[in-house]
Amino acid sequence: MLAWTIYISFLGAAALLLLPRGSTASARILALLTAIAGFAIALAAFVHNRTGEMQTITRVPWIPSLGIEYHLAADGISLTLVLLTGIIAITGILFSWDIEERTKDFFAFYLLLIGAVYGVFLSYDLFLLFVFYEIVIIPKYFLIATWGSTRREYGAMKLAIYSFVGSAMVLIGLIAAYVTAGSKTTSLDTLAHFPFSHHFQMLAFPLVFVGFAILAGLWPFHTWAPTGHVAAPTAASMLLAGVVMKLGAYGCLRVAMVLFPAGLGPWSFHVLGLGSWRDVFAILAVIGIIYGASVALVQKDFKFVIGYSSVSHMGFILLGLMTLNQIGLSGAVMQMVSHGLLAGLLFAVVGRMVYARTHTREFYLLGRMNLNRAIPFAAVAFVLAGMAAMGLPGFSGFVAELMILIGTWHAYPLLAIFVGLGIILGVVYIWRAMQKAFFSESRTESPASHHEPLPPISLPERIGAIILIAASVLVGIYPQMLLNVIMPALNSPLFEGLRKGSWQ
């Protein structure tokens, strides 16, 4: 049943293409219904699977001569992320209700992207996972290049090339693993239990991990993220930050770390005090956290602040993965959900509520408009999202960051200090953005800036914002809801190699 999340999105995309030209309203409604249907299926499956263990959805031979199967399966981690995808899909459509130009093309690409994202989260065969992972690239490019804003063609191409380079690295690693294991199967389960040689894992792990981590915004391969996010139309930045970056993190966890757990083990030597790939990536993740936050602190463009904040928050996820302890890994998955919801909301406020009305994202121009009085709803939404992103208790961000912090404390006590610094910087840049954009008491108020009142926040936007805030609060108040399925998934036989290796 869960497989229908994929099919229904693809069918929706195909149906949109067949609509007659100019049918804007029906295109929107069709897209929204498709996204709601996908979410409903995901929710039903989530409620149904209370144990969080891996359950096969579909398994049929696909290319028997190569041992490739069409194998979809879901455990607690995939279910959680599928649910997140459903929420982001719906709200993304609500926040692009105003797209007038080539509406049906826009939503067709959008649903194609959503369907492929569902596919990645549900694939249990590496070949299949890779197929979906690459399908994601193309609609992303067109969404940004066609409907984007600032330097859209540059941003779109940069994003596409970065993603493709990353997936090329993954492909090399996968082919090598497949052939080394006797080229009989591409099943994740079988390959995860294949005893690859230590030497092989040491080489393959960084290759595949970095390949996926490029999409997760690992410093220094993050540069596509701010430009891509800023260039993208609102719905596309929500998807990019909300779920596409999670694909990278998910790939790191599900493929790179599961296939090559020995690659995380210590080297026989030390370079600059680093003794394993795990140390290297943990340091890079922390640099990402601090760097993203510091750069966000000095931006003049509102959307760039959010773009760099994504880099910072994705650093938390990668760091959580590198802690290799239960609480850190669960925290990483929680942060995927939390950041998905919050980045979606932040981009929605900046891109749709503010930019689409004021046509500027420069702080010094926004400051003159007294936005807290002109569009109070946007201000409230941003304050709430900002509080959640800072990690205030009661929101999803708090739980996730706390878990990662504890995990880091166990694994890398020294780095925990820097993570704390990163959290403080997070408070500062959100505060600064909030103050400059919404609550700047402008003394030089010119009458010219008020000659036209800003259009009020529309109903779809309100609904979308409320859904995202509610989801974040729900996760923040009752994290057990997700942890109940994430923890058992991390204890499943699939992660055995990782546990036996260096799990603490």
């Binding site: 696909w62 290319i63 028997p64 001569s65 190569l66 080539r102 093309d105 070949f127 890779f130 197929v131 690459e134 399908i135 690239i137 193309i138 490019y141 067109f142 290049a145 066609t146 063609e153 191409m157 596409a160 090339i161 493709f164 380079v165 090329a168 492909l171 090399i172 082919i175 090598a176 497949y178 052939v179 080394t180 080229s183």
Partner: protein, 498 residues
Amino acid sequence: MTSINYAQLLQLALPQVIVVATALIVMAVDLLPLRRSATRVRFAVAATLGSLGCAVAILRIILAPAQANILDSTLIANPLTHLVQIALLALTIFTLLISADSDFTEHIGEFVLLILVATAGMMFLVGTQDLLVIFISLELLSLSLYILAAFNKRSAQSWEAALKYFLFGGMSAAFLLFGFSLLYGLSNSTSLAVIAATLHGPSLNPLLVIAIVTTAIGLGFKIAAAPFHFWAPDVYLGAPAPSAAFIASSSKVASFFIFFQVMALGFVGVEGTASLPHVVRGWIPVLALMAALSMLLGNLVAIRQTSLRRLLAYSAIAHAGYMLLAIVAHTQQSLAALIYYVITYALTTLGAFAVIAIVEEQRGSDHLSNFDGLSRQAPVLSFSLAIFILSLAGIPPLAGFFGKFYLFVTVIKSTPNPASLLWLVVLAIAMSAVSLYYYLRVLKHVYVAPPSEHAAKIHTPLLTQIVVLVLAAAVIILGCAPNLILKSILAAIQSSGL
């Protein structure tokens, strides 16, 4: 030497005979009853007759699959040759159908005749393992292609392209013949199997080295591998669209197949290795070098192109580089990968040229800016073009992706130590990441750029539209379910024991 049974010979060559007979019929019909009819009618009739002839030949191969090996492999019929011949005939049918709506020439009978004769040449080419027959059928193919490239007599570009093609082709044929004569001198036979048996030995004498290099040059020219690619951009640009499509698709299938056979069957024992840094002399390092050069040059130069045809030419050079890897690997599985790759690649290029032909005819040239906003004026055509381009880029779930995946897997698997050819595969994958840039640029013009104001509405002839859609569907279906043809390719290779 066995005595010749002419009845059996004729029976084996019957599909080729059917194709040639069709060619003559088409010529006669076009010259006698239809002489005064409109170009459109004449082309439609000639293309239909030609396609019917090819269809009959396909039926003959399917219904009466003979297995034979006459005169020390001079003429061979086995499931593998049948499979490739069927593919060639099908590609010819598609070529004829997309040319049916064009009007670049009045000599329609001759045009269709040349295409069919070239097809017959290719069918002989894949059905032999004898140097002499290989050379003769290769020349039959090449001479037809030179004329086809020059067929648009109104265009100076077409002349130039053909002349270039002819001059380079003549030279490469000389190289090939030189290599073949050395091989004959070394082994006293023209049969690949006998040559292999004679050459077998640890020593690599200088004559053999020359034979290897000149043979590789001669055949490398046919597949447009760097550094013997100079004709490709001009021919792709200058030749009339159907000719260019034919040169870019069918002739590639036949040439790659015979290249593989000559190398894998004829030069047994002198392979050498291309594993860095311990290269052993032989033909593998030569081909590995050609492959690496083609991938680098094709992909890097394609970035700068502004004409879609030239872009496709450089991308063809790059793809020739990828496909050469299969020959470097020379295992049964890599042959299967090569056949899958080259057939799907041929379908893709054919479709792309069909779209180019339409846009060119209505907007004047194949410059990328003429594709601006195509998606809003011809959605079906643009969708198909997007499928073809993305398949060339290797995006799943299209045929180009599985082709690459399978090819790379078989190449790594071909040696006992998976790492020895890894550098070539890494280069290929890295270069295909580069290629996404220029392929996306094409699609940017089609989907993102707004149409220019004075651009006329695109009118697509119904037949071409159907053919293009069928080709796009084939690329999608073969990509989603590669097993459809992979199974028969593997079975054919198994039973032919290559």
